[in-house]
């Protein structure tokens, strides 16, 4: 009879086959469970609606529009000169989430951002709050005219979505 000790590692064939079958079993279970988990992630049709085209020509200086993108509001504001000046004059390093205004806009006149408070997802109200920007009524976060968090529980500035100007009066969000 051959010994069931294989080699000089002291590992028996039985132990080896246990580890191998348990390993194969774990892989098989993982492969079977993954579809059950991944079905929770966004489906193809949800992902397909991931971009929105907006015509800006009707928006006057000092006006805002809210458009829906991925089920969320996106604020598009044609800022006044005073608002732009206010946003640019702030020393970015002093802010809770330091970011100069220039990093948040492609053209200073047009501020495009996701209208979802970075605290817990409410929609902030426009041209309100201590910094004349946006104010979230849920838990009292104040954003400035660049959508940067200035006061309150929100950890970061309002998110800037990926967008590009198709021409002077049209943008594509997403």
């Amino acid at each position: 009879m051959a010994s069931n000790k294989a080699g000089n590692e002291g590992v028996s064939r039985r132990e080896f086959i246990h580890v191998m079958s348990a390993g194969a079993g774990a892989v098989a279970v993982g492969a079977a469970v993954w579809p059950l988990i991944d079905q929770m992630n966004p489906s193809a049709d949800v992902l397909a609606l991931a971009s929105t085209e907006v015509d800006l020509s009707a928006i006057e200086v000092g006006q805002s529009v809210t458009v829906k993108w991925r089920g969320k509001p996106v604020f598009i504001r044609r800022r006044t000169d005073a608002e732009i000046k206010e946003a640019e004059s702030v020393n970015a390093a002093d802010l809770p989430d330091p970011q100069p205004d220039a990093d948040r806009v492609q053209k200073p006149e047009w501020l495009v951002m996701v209208g979802v408070c970075t605290h817990l997802g409410c929609v902030p109200l426009g041209q309100q709050g201590d910094y004349n920007g946006w104010f979230c009524p849920c838990h009292g976060s104040h954003y400035d005219t660049s959508g940067r968090i200035r006061k309150g529980p929100a950890p970061t500035n309002l998110e800037i979505p990926a967008y590009r100007f198709l021409d002077d009066s049209k943008i594509l969000i997403g």
């Binding site: 966004p42 409410c122 979230c136």
Partner: protein, 417 residues
């Protein structure tokens, strides 16, 4: 606890039970279970909780026959239930108010356990299973509140699911995963309906474990001393079935007041406005039973070194951690309380701090319903700090230094000499 053996007289029943002893199991649980003979009315709330769960499951199953879990139809299907479905108004009113009644009963049940030391050895597993049930109830209630798809449904779902975005690195992916999209939308409503239907049955399973664990060690009692002899107990039936039925009558009277005379008192008027993802209501509040936890969530500031810019944990993450910790701290309570005496009746300091804790939770409930401005966040923070201090500082210290009153020799000894 050994129950008296089940010996059916009817030969058919005996034949059945010899092959599947489920009747004996039920007999041992609801008839011959030897319960301490000094249980007071605070012990009604266990069976009341079981009945409240049954009411929710039964009304829920029939409501699901008329409800449509789709963003375009959910709100209208609830109105259809209220206006068109035979007795729909009654069923929905029972189900919606039943959630509140369930929480009242369960919170009372928990505080009874806290007061009389029911969490202490040898009932730790019983207590922990209870915490699991409470967590499952909260998840179920939260998802149920989303289903009518009103403004509070939508924004409550948004705020609560966003809690998970506080988790470092993977937070946003988790939130997308929970939503099935990039915001609370139809996939979210659909899965919440599925889970809201599933979880009550999971609760039933954990309740069975809870009762199993109860029957291994037997019920605690107002004196908190162990059952020493048969003289200390009475059979569950007829003594506690009768006592529980009286309590049940009172419970149904209170329940009926809300169902028939004030069905929307515990709800929020904004939930009769259909969900609108573009407009947040000015003041989002959860249902009353979540208010203390909501207050804890909102009141925690950035955690760091005071008077410097050094922040270890941002307020958002700290609030989320504090909120979950406020429930999970109950899991370790049996090991934080070092006293060998269970009942607060014999623990003068513990008795006092119990009532302060209760008052603290009332304060947190009030704070949770107020806007997060002015004095309220400060009161909320004080209440939160006290809540954790109660469990993590006061309980360990008091249970070591407290001079307890002398315990009776047994449950019977104060009356039988």
């Amino acid at each position: 606890m050994a129950s008296a053996a089940f010996e059916p007289k009817n030969s058919a029943v005996k034949w059945f039970n010899d092959r599947l002893p489920i009747l004996g199991l039920l007999h041992g649980t609801f008839v011959s279970y030897p319960a301490p003979k000094n249980l007071n009315y605070w012990w009604n709330f266990g069976s009341l909780a079981g009945i409240a769960l049954m009411v929710q499951i039964i009304t829920g199953i029939v409501l699901a026959m008329h409800y449509t879990p789709h963003t375009a139809m959910a709100f209208n299907s609830v109105e259809h239930i209220m206006r068109d479905v035979n007795y729909g108004w009654l069923l929905r009113s029972i189900h919606a108010n039943g959630a509140s009644m369930f929480f009242i009963v369960v919170y009372t049940h928990i505080f009874r356990g806290l007061y009389y030391g029911s969490y202490k050895a040898p009932r730790e597993m019983l207590w922990i299973l209870g915490v699991v049930i409470m967590l499952l109830m909260m998840a179920t209630a939260f998802m149920g509140y989303v289903l009518p798809w009103g403004q509070m449904s939508f924004w409550g779902a948004t705020v609560i699911t966003n809690l998970f975005s506080a988790i470092p690195l993977v937070g946003d992916s988790i939130v997308t995963f929970l939503w099935g999209g990039f915001s609370v939308d139809n996939p979210t409503l659909n899965r919440f309906f599925s889970l809201h239907y599933l979880l009550p049955f999971v609760i039933v399973g954990v309740v069975i474990l809870h009762i199993w664990a109860l029957h291994i060690q037997g019920s605690n009692n107002p004196l908190g001393v162990d059952v020493k002899s048969k003289q200390d107990t009475v059979t569950f039936h007829p003594y506690y079935t009768a006592k529980d039925l009286l309590g049940l009558g009172v419970f149904f009277l209170v329940f009926s007041y809300f169902v028939f005379f004030n069905p929307d008192m515990l709800g929020h008027p904004d939930n009769y406005i259909p969900a609108n993802p573009m407009v947040t209501p000015p003041h989002i509040v959860p249902e009353w039973y979540f208010l203390p936890f909501y207050a804890i969530l909102r009141s925690v500031p950035d955690i760091g070194i005071p008077f410097t810019d050094i922040v270890f944990v941002k307020a958002k993450l700290a609030g989320v951690i504090a909120m979950f910790a406020s429930i999970l701290v109950l899991v370790v309570l049996p090991w934080l309380d070092k006293s060998s005496v269970r009942s607060a009746k014999f623990r003068p300091l513990t008795n006092g701090f119990f009532w302060i804790l209760l008052a603290d939770l009332v304060v947190l409930t009030i704070v949770g319903g107020k806007p997060a401005e002015g004095i309220w966040p400060v009161i909320g923070l004080i209440g939160t700090v006290y809540y954790f201090a109660h469990f993590l500082v006061i309980t360990p210290i008091v249970s070591r230094i407290e001079k307890t009153k002398p315990l009776p020799e047994s449950i019977s000894s104060p009356v039988v000499k």
